[in-house]
Symmetry: C2
């Protein structure tokens, strides 16, 4: 395409729309014009001189996967603390939290037997899984497409076998998290139910739309007695291959070896930075993402993006010399992936110190181009107050404030006291890389990433100016 | 992110909103419910069993860059005709058109001299440029940031030199086409103005946001006497390198060798397929993209995506056995990039046959995730009629119908008679690959691509059902 299009009219449009809708007085029109200009400056700063892309590059390529309890997680804590200190926030500190320490070990090996041939397949242990202690676990396979299908089987059909959960992500969901939710049960509860029915192991089809050779890990849901059985994700390519082989020879045997194990809980930290409010410092606006990431990739989209965007949102206030009326606080949560201990510890501290967190924004859906904000509230007045700001965001690719889920970490806060807000970028590509070795820095587009941080900064600014 | 979110509420929301806004009668509510269901089926078919991704893979990886007049362009014509015939449209035919035939030749070589050292840089000839007939063109360099800066120079400053246009794309435009428009003049008219001032050659900074080593080509604007001077794009990486060197040593010499030339015009074709209307066949709805692409890449986003989406839009009618009330016509235009001859020939045929093209949709802004439709019209009634359909599109990531530019090829049609509509996907990544060797199939996301075709199909369906 070579045609000339000007972007200018959309800015004018947003101001006009805003003015029309609210029947504003002269004073408030002036105020909103200032908001429009400040928000525009935030975006210009982010796009011309944003820092989050460079910070994310370091987090991904110099540190990499940073699962709770790991050496990489410790380095990520130090690095992000240094970054926030270099931005001269009013305070930067670590919040201690004990976290699970599960390690993958080396040499994950798997194959199935087709006739006399051993066909190698790509697997990776699900987070928290037992290993096979270095010895192959070999058994015949029973394939199911869902947890429900497994539950309908008699225990004698399952006993002694490896259950192969092979439910595909449903491509029909426009928002891909819907598909993840729909077939995620096979990973969250499938292995436990397989164990209850006497299975010796579980293999779960990777939760991704595309057919490729990357296994996508992830945690299993917790349960009281979690001895479990060795459980692994298998790449979609190999899941399809295995399924075809089973259709021809139902007695096909699967064999896998894993050395993963759970070590004693480890001390780690949430990393927190604050800029104190000038007028209502006791009212706090939180913004955050999670610093931990699965060990197999670099955690670029999940959730390095959310981490650097949250820090950038505060940095934009410093870069533009904007003193927020209310306190704004970036929280980099530890251990979202396999325990939520950071989110829980943070919520506990808010509660025990009786802090007034009026709103919390979470970015944990990738670093893609902006789409909307999801507001988790039953308070329609509050919803409408925020929704009235929408014209200020439309020029920046935020097209809606909708009812929805805020996020896993901020979800530990009291929903009655705190407005929980999820930042939602476009979801089409998210599960291509999610929890896989392919979630690397090269999948990040700088502009898309920076637009996310700036949109969060803009929302924080309005929350800080006007409260709730 | 691991949290469970359901996508279902947004569908309900769209139906309700639609019903509320229009104060519909029971009959029309029923009709719109049917529209909702048909559109949903279109998306489900596209996402579960869409064909455009596979067709694009062939177009990119088996044929590749297909500049007007080339062997590849001829193969692309044959292939897309076969594809449409295989879909059993009511008619598929070729519309002859004479097109320019410019060839790059081999061995584009360039370097600049830093002291005694020759620093190699990546260039590619701008479309339509004269070559240097295989011999190095060497001269000292004068750097400018814009056409205006060049125009302010005296001819004696420019005479005998190579003008180096080094204006960067402005990152502040949220919609990146605005930045392209803003600094595109250095490529469109810069070389002509340089020639008028006595320059012997022109080097133009690639029109892309990112710093990389790919030169991005593109056409220069036409002018009556276009002998011109040898003119090439230089990669942003090397443009920065050259600029730094010039700052230290303004006498730095640049040398480049190109073998490009213009051959006699060649016979080529627009490729056209139709499904005839059942009630008003004389009213025609056009959808299209351009089949030609620059020779240096594979033309995946520009505009293979628009080509396969346009054909897919018609295929979805066949796949779902929907007989459109009005005639729908896919037009794959030849020669958008360097002449617009296909668009002009098509518009001429519409005029000479007095055809009633009520609307034309163009996809030529990449295969990225959907954003909005741009409507090129001064007729507010028409604008409002289409805009009332918006609630049917919001579940599928189309968030606006806006006033804007339809597209270069459909722009040849009579704007008074035809509603011109541009399909607009997200633009953040577009210029990373635009007109460069990096515009390849691996940059395409299947879901994003298929959503585009389905959104165009949905709009065609409504235009076909209700007219304008």
């Amino acid at each position: 395409m070579k045609t000339i299009i000007s972007a200018i009219p959309i800015f004018l449009f947003s101001i006009v729309t805003f003015a029309q809708k609210d029947s504003l007085t002269a004073d408030t029109i002036e105020m909103k014009r200032n908001d429009t200009l400040i928000i525009k400056q935030m975006f210009h700063t982010a796009l011309e001189n944003g820092k989050s892309y460079k910070v994310l590059e370091h987090l991904c390529t110099k540190i990499g996967g940073r699962l709770s309890g790991s050496e990489e997680a410790a380095r990520a804590v130090s690095y992000m603390k240094e970054v926030m200190e270099s931005y001269k926030f009013d305070t930067v500190y670590l919040q201690p939290v004990m976290v699970p320490h599960w390690v993958r070990g080396v040499d994950e090996v798997a194959f199935f037997k087709s006739g006399t041939e051993e066909i190698p397949v790509n697997i990776c242990a699900l987070g928290g899984s037992l290993g096979t202690k270095g010895k192959p676990l070999t058994a015949s396979v029973i394939e199911v497409k869902s947890v429900e299908e497994l539950e309908a089987l008699s225990n004698s059909d399952v006993r002694g076998k490896i259950v192969f959960f092979n439910g595909p992500m449903d491509p029909k969901y426009i928002r891909t998290f819907g598909a993840y939710s729909h077939c995620g049960g096979q990973r969250w509860t499938g292995p436990w139910i397989a164990q209850e029915k006497g299975a010796v192991g579980a293999i779960v089809r990777s939760l991704t739309h595309i057919e490729d050779k990357y296994p996508h890990t992830g945690s299993m849901g917790s349960r009281p007695n979690n001895n479990g059985i060795p459980s692994a994700a298998i790449s979609t390519f190999h899941a399809n291959q295995l399924s075809k082989t089973l259709a021809i020879n139902p007695k096909t045997e699967f064999s896998f070896t894993m050395n993963c194990e759970t070590l004693p809980d480890t001390l780690s930290y949430n990393v927190i930075g604050e800029i104190w409010g000038t007028e209502n410092p006791e009212e706090i606006i939180v913004v955050g993402g999670h610093l931990d990431a699965w060990d197999n990739g670099d955690g670029a989209h999940d959730d390095g993006a959310g981490v650097v965007q949250s820090v950038e949102a505060l940095r934009l206030f410093k870069a533009l010399d904007i003193a927020p009326k209310r306190t704004i606080r970036a929280v980099l949560f530890m251990n979202e992936e396999n325990g939520l201990k950071g989110g829980k510890a943070f919520a506990d501290s808010v509660k025990s110190q009786n802090q007034n967190v009026i709103a919390a924004i979470e970015s944990d859906a990738g670093g893609f181009t902006p789409r909307y904000f999801a507001l988790q509230t039953h308070d329609e007045e509050r919803m409408q107050k925020v929704a009235r700001w929408l014209p200020l965001f439309k020029p920046y690719n935020i097209y809606a404030f909708e009812h929805g889920h805020g996020g896993a970490d901020i979800g530990q806060l009291d929903e009655e006291k705190t407005l929980l807000i999820g930042y939602r970028p476009d979801s089409q590509r998210y599960f291509d890389y999610h929890h896989a070795a392919s979630d690397t820095f090269d999948k990040i587009n700088q502009r898309e990433l920076e637009l996310g941080g700036a949109n969060m900064a803009a929302l924080i600014y309005l929350l800080s100016e006007y409260g709730l």
